[in-house]
């Protein structure tokens, strides 16, 4: 294939309608399943097992890809047990916030790769707030009603401020946000690790973690046997809808978006572009902080080093969602389902977890790539003929 063909494809991709994009996503999913199936099959040849899935031409194949996929989707919750559904939705709920964090920045033409760091600090802030404030509160519903919103607010502020920082550097010092946010991720993890290990951590254990939060500060599980709380899911759905409305219907959203996409045009339109770029990054960081609070309140009940990379997954969620706040809802559901499903395979089939991760990665890669290329193509100016360059 030559360059011209590639360019034509890229044009076509950028011009794709919403329906076409949904169809492409499902086709990619199917393709990923086929490729993954072949890998699972081949991985079963060198493996040793007591009763192979099947024998063909004298070779033993240890894993059955079809059974594996069935387990994956069953585990994801659609036909599985309530526990699986809980796991899926728990992952989905936190991913909603990290996905939205990345999406609001992308929406304004900014690449916030720092959601992970914002989440880590937000989580630490909320965990410490609870640990310090909880002893002075009654251990009942009143305590819950006070402590949970407080923890969320603290995480929002900390995450927001940690997004403000790269925003300021972008707007006033021309430092590209991709570089600064990536570096700030390391800074965040380093600071959190240092503080928890040396100053604010749980001194009764060798692990780098805070003391667990009391029962009344934990969000009550909606499904028995899991930690999933419907409150977080509803909060996330509400946030997605509110952000969609903000960007599509309000002057503030229009100004935020214009400032990130075309700062000079924003200034022309009477908007302070620099201030709005900072605001976009702050909003993005705040959502990352909230994700951290949700992780502490619903999932882990304490801050512990080596948090899962939900912030980085948020990037993939956002890309898959076409950076649309509403699109983040199905995208995080897919990611959550894959997480729930892969746990189930681990559990039921004895397939090595690494192989399951490969399948999960393939699906994410295949499904997200068309949107990713579409995004890159659109930034590179493809998608329409007759575009102009500066003479």
């Amino acid at each position: 294939m030559n360059r011209a063909d590639l360019e034509r494809l890229l044009d076509r991709l950028v011009d794709a309608t919403v329906l076409e994009r949904v169809v492409i996503s499902f086709a990619s999913l199917l393709f990923a399943i086929v490729v993954g199936g072949v890998i699972v099959l081949l991985a079963g040849i060198p493996a040793t097992c007591r009763d192979p899935a099947f024998v063909f031409a004298g070779r033993e194949f240890c894993y059955d890809p079809i059974e594996m996929y069935l387990t994956l989707f069953e585990g994801a919750g659609a036909f599985g047990s309530l526990t699986n559904l809980g796991l899926t939705l728990q992952e989905t709920s936190v991913l909603l916030f990290t996905g939205l964090s990345v999406a609001v920045a992308f929406r304004a033409g900014l690449f916030n790769i720092g959601t992970q760091g914002q989440m880590v600090l937000g989580a630490l802030g909320s965990a410490l707030t609870i640990v310090w404030v909880a002893p002075s509160l009654p251990e009942n519903v009143v305590g819950t009603v006070v402590i949970v919103p407080l923890a969320v607010v603290v995480a929002t502020v900390i995450g927001g401020l940690y997004g403000t920082l790269p925003g300021l550097m972008k707007a006033y010092a021309d430092a590209h946000e991709v570089i600064t946010t990536i570096m700030l991720n390391f800074v965040a993890m380093g600071i959190a690790f240092y503080l928890v290990r040396n100053h604010v951590g749980d001194t009764t254990t060798d692990s780098v973690q805070t003391t667990p939060i009391p029962d009344f500060a934990r969000l009550p599980p909606t499904i028995d046997g899991t930690r999933f709380s419907i409150l977080v899911l509803l909060f996330g759905l509400a946030a997605a809808i509110a952000l969609y409305l903000l960007y599509e219907r309000t002057v503030v959203g229009y100004d935020l978006r214009t400032s990130g996409l075309a700062p000079e045009a924003a200034d022309y339109g009477g908007v302070n572009a620099k201030r709005n770029i900072v605001a976009s990054m702050t909003l993005s960081g705040a959502l990352g902080g909230i994700a951290g609070a949700m992780y502490v309140l619903m999932v882990h009940y304490r801050w512990e080093t080596d948090m899962p990379p939900l912030g980085f997954d948020g990037i993939a969620v956002s890309i898959l969602a076409g950076n649309n706040p509403l699109g983040v809802i199905p995208a995080s559901l897919l990611f959550g389902a894959l997480k729930g499903g892969s746990l189930q395979i681990d559990f039921a089939l004895g397939v090595p977890p690494e192989l399951v991760e490969v399948l999960r990665g393939l699906i994410i890669l295949f499904v997200a790539m068309p949107e990713f290329f579409r995004m890159i193509g659109s930034y590179a100016g493809y998608g329409t003929d007759g575009g102009e360059t500066d003479g």
Binding site: T258, G269, E388, G391
Partner: protein, 522 residues
């Protein structure tokens, strides 16, 4: 457009250092160079002049191997060449000194000069610092450059940094040096020193091409001057045989003439008054120097001049995009010097920006969203925090219909429109908001002929409706035809304010070149 006369300077058929024949370079939607024949004699200084966007830099980037021409051939020393990259050009003895220097600041002059081609010791394992310093010193000595090879770049002046760039090119064996706007960042003394260096280099057998849009510099430093306009080579002339005025008229050129009738109308009250305005450019250099004028309702006030003489800064200060150092701006009787851009939009100031693609449009947005740009807080388009998309949609559809924007579809992105249609949309959006002042900066730049006529007529309609118009353009013809009064700006100052129907092109050309009329102005 004038005929091709690019080879006029080469009658005596001496060998050319560079010959570019029939060079055409197309970018999507734009022809940056259109059938350009450009030849440079060996051991001469050749200036390439033209307005911003005339295609000077594109042409030189082709010579330097940065772009491949769509059509045409490049020969160096009579040998046809095809450059795939700047490295090929360097191997052929061509060096380019960019406007923005590419030096490593913490490193020394010598280290920068040899960077990428260092003399080495121990079978290439170590850089030979001593040899680098010695080579640099020899090289600088040969061309009479005053520079210490052991100085670190961040300790040196801009003029010295430029010398380092030139040394870098010479070190790599450059015989032909291209300098892009070499004087833009220099003080007058450094400019003189640069011209001295040109002479040394020519004496040593080098050939120099420099890009500039300052005519005085071209006349002073060059042996020959080539003028580019709208991607075409207008003419190549000997510096000794031309004048500033001739060059200015070649650069600005004549536009297609339209029969635009401008009936005299009664002026209303003063809409815009600018008093003793001083504005600095991005580098903190005074770009608008004590300018005063006023525009009445029902009047078109034109500002003519070669690009880069402070027009952009003047317009940005008036429209609220650039802070004012001193002086006042009064709009409809109210002082607006400190009023925000949004405040000025609300007060009825419309603005057609010079840079349509970055200023007046968001290329990624569809026309609906672009129609809102600047109007988003006006009560007509929003209810408190919420945008009234229905009202915006109706407005945008009206603009598209009335201003003949094609394709007539509010869902197409601004990027996909041609330059003319983009500009018609911007003009419509700004005009239909009932402004009392329209600031139009280069309103027809990069716009097709049909759209130019359309935009001109609309500007005159506004005038008839009693709206004040400030028209800034580097197309002399345009300003002269449309304006009731016309100022000529040079180096941040108004040289004169004249009646456009009462001056000859030569008189205006003199003013544009910075020469005050001998018989005392006004």
């Amino acid at each position: 457009m004038s005929d091709q006369t690019g080879a006029r300077a080469g009658e005596e058929s001496s060998t050319y250092a560079v010959e570019m024949e029939g060079i055409t370079k197309r970018f999507p939607g734009v022809v940056a160079n259109d059938d350009v024949d450009f030849a440079v004699e060996r051991e001469t200084v050749h200036a390439l002049v033209g307005e911003n966007g005339a295609g000077k830099t594109t042409l030189m980037n082709i010579l330097y191997g940065f772009y491949e021409p769509t059509e045409g051939t490049v020969s160096v020393d009579g040998v046809p060449r095809e450059f795939d990259s700047p490295r090929d050009a360097m191997d052929a003895g061509i060096g380019m000194i960019h406007q923005h220097f590419m030096l490593v600041k913490p490193m020394t002059v010598a280290e920068n000069v040899v960077l990428g081609a260092e003399p080495t010791r121990f079978f290439g394992l170590l850089t030979d610092e001593t040899a680098a310093i010695r080579t640099t010193r020899d090289l600088a000595g040969r061309y009479g450059f005053d520079i210490d090879p052991t100085d670190r770049i961040h300790e040196t002046s801009v003029g010295e940094q430029q010398r380092v760039e030139i040394l870098k090119a010479l070190y790599r064996g450059a015989e032909i040096l291209i300098l892009d706007e070499p004087t833009a960042v220099l003080t007058p003394q450094e400019v003189e020193a640069l011209y001295g260096m040109f002479e040394e280099l020519i004496d040593e057998g080098k050939t120099i091409i420099f890009i500039t849009h300052k005519l005085g510099e071209a006349l002073e430093a060059a042996d020959r001057i080539s003028v580019l306009r709208d991607g075409r080579l207008v003419e190549t002339v000997r510096a000794a045989e031309t004048t500033r005025e001739e060059l200015a008229s070649m650069m600005v050129g004549r536009d297609v003439l339209f029969d635009v009738t401008s009936d005299p109308v009664e002026y209303g009250s003063t809409t815009l008054a600018v008093d003793d305005l001083v504005v600095e450019d991005d580098r903190g250099i005074r770009a608008v120097d004590d300018v005063s004028f006023s525009v009445q309702a029902g009047e078109v006030f034109g500002v003519a001049g070669v690009d880069g003489n402070g027009q952009s800064e003047l317009v940005e200060a008036i429209t609220g995009l650039r802070p004012v150092e001193s002086g006042t701006i009064t709009f409809d009787g109210e002082g607006v010097t400190a009023l925000s851009r949004r405040g000025r939009i609300g007060a009825g100031m419309a603005y057609i920006a010079e840079d349509r693609q970055h200023r007046s449009l968001v290329l990624e947005y569809d026309l609906l969203r672009n129609g809102l740009l600047g109007c988003q807080t006006l009560p007509r388009f929003s209810n408190g925090p919420f945008i009234d998309w229905d009202a915006t949609g109706e407005y945008v559809d009206d603009v598209i219909a009335e201003y003949d924007v094609r394709p007539p579809d509010r869902d197409t992105t601004a990027r996909s429109l041609s330059g003319g249609n983009q500009q018609k949309f911007v003009v419509g959006r700004e005009f239909e908001r009932d402004p009392s002042l329209v600031v139009a900066s280069q309103p027809t730049r990069g716009v097709d002929i049909g759209s130019i006529e359309f935009i001109h007529n609309r500007l005159l309609d506004l005038r008839t409706e009693g709206i004040a118009v400030l028209l800034v353009s580097s197309k002399l013809e345009e300003v002269q035809r449309l304006s009731d009064r016309m100022a000529v700006i040079y180096d941040g100052q108004f040289m004169d304010v004249v009646d456009p129907d009462d001056v000859t092109e030569e008189e205006v050309g003199l003013l544009m070149a910075g020469e005050r009329p001998a018989g005392g102005g006004q």
